[in-house]
């Protein structure tokens, strides 16, 4: 599919979103839908670094929370409008991404992953002690009357659709460009790629920054969605596990994988929250993750590809 085709699909999806927003469907759909779409962004963003480049980031909560707390800081200081919050949230998280990109010079493989995990812990401690954004007490956001749309639920839902579409488009573009090929080379064997002249450092920095940027973008509207932001649920380990599981389930080598994974797993979790409604939901995520990693490491897209190859 060429870029024009992709853009058409993108616009169509956004249009569908507006349609859904206009219909008088049950508001619960907007709430649940927001979370699933948020995971599309998170999974896709994670995959840029994890799937394309092969660097496993356990610190997803750090970036997500950074986006959320940047929003809070800007809200406290300037009452900044939502688009500014999203941009800034992404930029700050992207800067953090750049930082960890430099970290990859010294840290490979598991050390990088543990460092990202450590990042989460340290950032959480910092936020807990920073009273300006509420610290451990938490920050409450009183939402102003909703502009343009019928309700905040609809606005946030449509916003997330737009963000998801943008993120996926970016991921797709990266994947098909020379950057994507370079990342794939360094994922397979970093030293060999370096020897062949692939600018590994620049690519890594690019991947970590973009990945961080979009994770921050996913987190920036969060205060508007939940209206009460406190560190322990914002830095929840679930974000880390889901960011891992969704691309794994869907397939890490292509942009479609995280989308499928996020939609399937995200929807399943939303349904489980209001039906089974217990930690069984979390257990299922863990089990599914391990099963897929062991049995179907290429994810669902990989399985489909194998089937297609057989038929041919």
């Amino acid at each position: 599919m060429k870029i024009r085709g992709a853009l058409v699909v993108a616009v169509a999806v956004i249009g569908l979103g507006f349609l859904l927003g206009g219909l008088r469907v049950n508001p619960y759909i907007y709430f649940a839908g927001y979370v699933v779409l948020q995971y599309v962004v998170i999974a896709t963003a994670w995959n840029i670094l994890g799937g394309y480049a092969g660097y496993v980031n356990f610190g997803t909560p750090a970036f997500f929370a950074l986006g959320a707390y940047t929003s809070i800081a800007l809200l406290e200081a300037f009452r900044a409008p939502l688009p500014v919050l999203i941009l800034c949230g992404g930029l700050v998280a992207g800067l953090l991404g750049l930082g960890i990109g430099y970290l990859t010079l010294r840290l490979k493989g598991v050390f990088f992953s543990i460092a990202t995990f450590a990042l989460s812990v340290v950032l959480q401690t910092l936020i807990i002690n920073w009273d300006y954004v509420g610290g451990a007490k938490g920050y409450t956001l009183i939402r102003p009357p909703v502009p343009l749309f019928r309700s905040w639920a609809v606005l946030l839902f449509i916003l997330m659709i737009v963000l998801a579409v943008v993120t996926v488009l970016v991921a797709r573009t990266i994947e098909r460009s020379w950057i994507g090929r370079g990342l794939a080379a360094l994922r397979d064997n970093e030293e060999a790629a370096e020897c062949m002249g692939v600018p590994t450092l620049r690519l890594k920095l690019f991947a970590t920054t973009i990945s961080g940027f979009f994770l921050g973008v996913a987190g920036a509207p969060f205060p508007y969605y939940v209206t009460y932001v406190e560190p322990s649920s914002t830095f929840d380990l679930n974000y880390a596990v889901n960011a891992l599981a969704m691309p794994m389930i869907g397939g890490t080598t292509t942009w479609l994988g995280p989308v499928i994974g996020a939609v399937l797993l995200g929807t399943a979790q939303q349904i489980a929250t209001v039906t089974i409604s217990s930690e069984l939901n979390l257990l299922i995520v863990g089990v599914v993750l391990v099963l897929f990693v062991v049995l179907a490491p290429e994810g669902l897209t990989g399985l489909v590809r194998k089937l297609k190859r057989r038929r041919a």
Partner: protein, 425 residues
């Protein structure tokens, strides 16, 4: 069958299983319900950090529902309680309550347990003008001043300061008056509120703070903290902590030999059965906040029957066996809601709110009247002292005398043993 084939088949089986599960569970979401019973909905911490109290709280609410239905329900209709697990995660709250209101079409909602879980409910309640009963949260309504919010926690007006008032008053009454105080608390939302309140009281009662530090909740070893406090030799030690740190601090204090003249204040967790039976005699002498104790002054109408039923169910369910902390209050919260519905003869949110605001209720935790911001008109945070605990047997906690109420005066059931070391013998 080749290996590859087997794996591919397995892969398809996985996909099929997931799709099937989704299809099956998905249908539940969109089914509308019949409107005959009165429905009360809530999210509650059934998993996650607060579930140790969340599960008993839900059990208490269900006991109330059964009690009410035995007597014919409310306004002649049966009562139904719909609860979802909020996983002690604030982010699930908007979704859960939206489902309760839009899909399950509940008539009333009550909050989950804890300040963090009540906070995200506030904007939803305000947007839809709901009347909500809050279940044990500290100062949730300070910022909003929403008139239709009512809190069952007996903190009273100015919740932050009232938390520790009794503790400080008891300390100040002693002769000679203690001079120095150490403040220590966890880096988390409730302890921060409590310590902030304590600092105000330090000024008010003229004590001198010689130690004022916080620690991360995941601290393993509390002996460095206990030692650091011992090194400054304070007369009073005020601790604001959550259950694991409360246990850690008590044990560390015992080990290190930290013996101020008064110890305790705002330690959550000492009220839980498992903690009481585990710490046993180490608790002796600690003066701590509490909401209820099995003393003769606290035997309100209906409470004995409640505990009989609760303890029976708790044993089977494997939750807090005695249930002295949250359960009676969770019960009272819905009890008040029920009484207000009956009293105002309506399910209209505003009418019920007005009724609650205007009346005094006789509940299983005593007489309750609400004041500004939905808090209790008069604070009733107790200060109790653990006395005479021997060994770790649970039965001793069922009878009066082990958790003596020192404050406020109207519920006082005994005298303080001062200093702290005297109670430890």
């Amino acid at each position: 069958m080749t290996r590859l084939r087997a794996r591919t088949l397995l892969g398809w089986a996985l996909i099929g299983a997931i799709a099937g599960t989704l299809a099956l569970t998905g249908t539940g979401v969109f089914v509308a319900r019949a409107a005959d019973p009165i429905k009360i909905g809530l999210g509650m911490a059934l998993t996650g950090g607060l579930s140790a109290n969340g599960k008993p709280a839900l059990m208490a609410i269900q006991i109330w529902k059964d009690d009410v239905n035995k007597k014919g329900g409310l306004l002649g209709r049966p009562v139904e309680v719909i609860a979802y697990d909020d996983q002690t995660n604030a982010a699930t709250v908007p979704g859960i309550y939206t489902k309760l209101l839009e899909v399950d079409k509940v008539d009333f909602v009550v909050s989950g347990y804890g300040t963090n879980l009540i906070a995200p409910l506030m904007p939803i309640a305000m947007e839809r003008k709901l009347t909500i009963m809050g279940i044990l949260g500290l100062a949730n309504n300070e910022k909003y001043k929403y008139p239709n919010y009512f809190q069952i926690q007996p903190s009273g007006p100015d919740p932050e300061a009232n938390w520790a008032t009794g503790f400080f008053e008891i300390a100040a009454k002693q002769n000679p008056k203690p001079q120095t105080i150490a403040l220590v608390g966890a880096d988390a939302e409730y302890p921060r509120h409590a310590i902030a309140g304590a600092r105000e009281l330090v000024k008010k009662y003229g004590f001198k703070a010689v130690y004022d530090k916080s620690y991360p909740p995941s601290t393993v070893d509390y002996t460095p903290i206990a030692r650091a406090i011992k090194a400054v030799n304070p007369d009073i030690v005020f601790v604001a902590s959550y259950p694991p740190d409360s246990v850690g601090m008590v044990r560390a204090a015992a080990e290190v030999g930290l013996q101020p003249k008064i110890f305790g204040g705002g330690m959550v967790g000492l009220q839980f059965t498992t903690v009481m039976t585990s710490l046993g005699p180490m608790l002796n002498g600690i003066v701590n906040y509490d909401f209820w104790a099995p003393e003769s002054t606290m035997m309100f109408p209906g409470i004995k029957e409640f505990f009989a039923e609760y303890q029976k169910r708790a044993k089977e369910a494997g939750v807090d066996t005695l249930g002295y902390y949250l359960p009676p209050f969770a019960y009272s919260a819905v009890q008040i809601l029920g009484l207000a519905i009956e009293g105002s003869k309506s399910l209209d949110q505003q009418k019920v709110a007005d009724y609650i605001r205007a009346n005094e209720f006789s509940t299983i935790v005593g007489k309750v009247r609400f004041g500004a911001n939905g808090e209790w008109a008069k604070s009733r945070v107790l200060q109790v002292q653990y006395q005479g605990i021997k060994g770790t047997d649970i039965e001793q906690f069922r009878v009066p005398g082990k958790k003596v109420v020192l404050y406020p005066d109207e519920f006082k059931s005994g005298n303080v043993i001062y200093p702290y070391s005297a109670a430890q013998k």
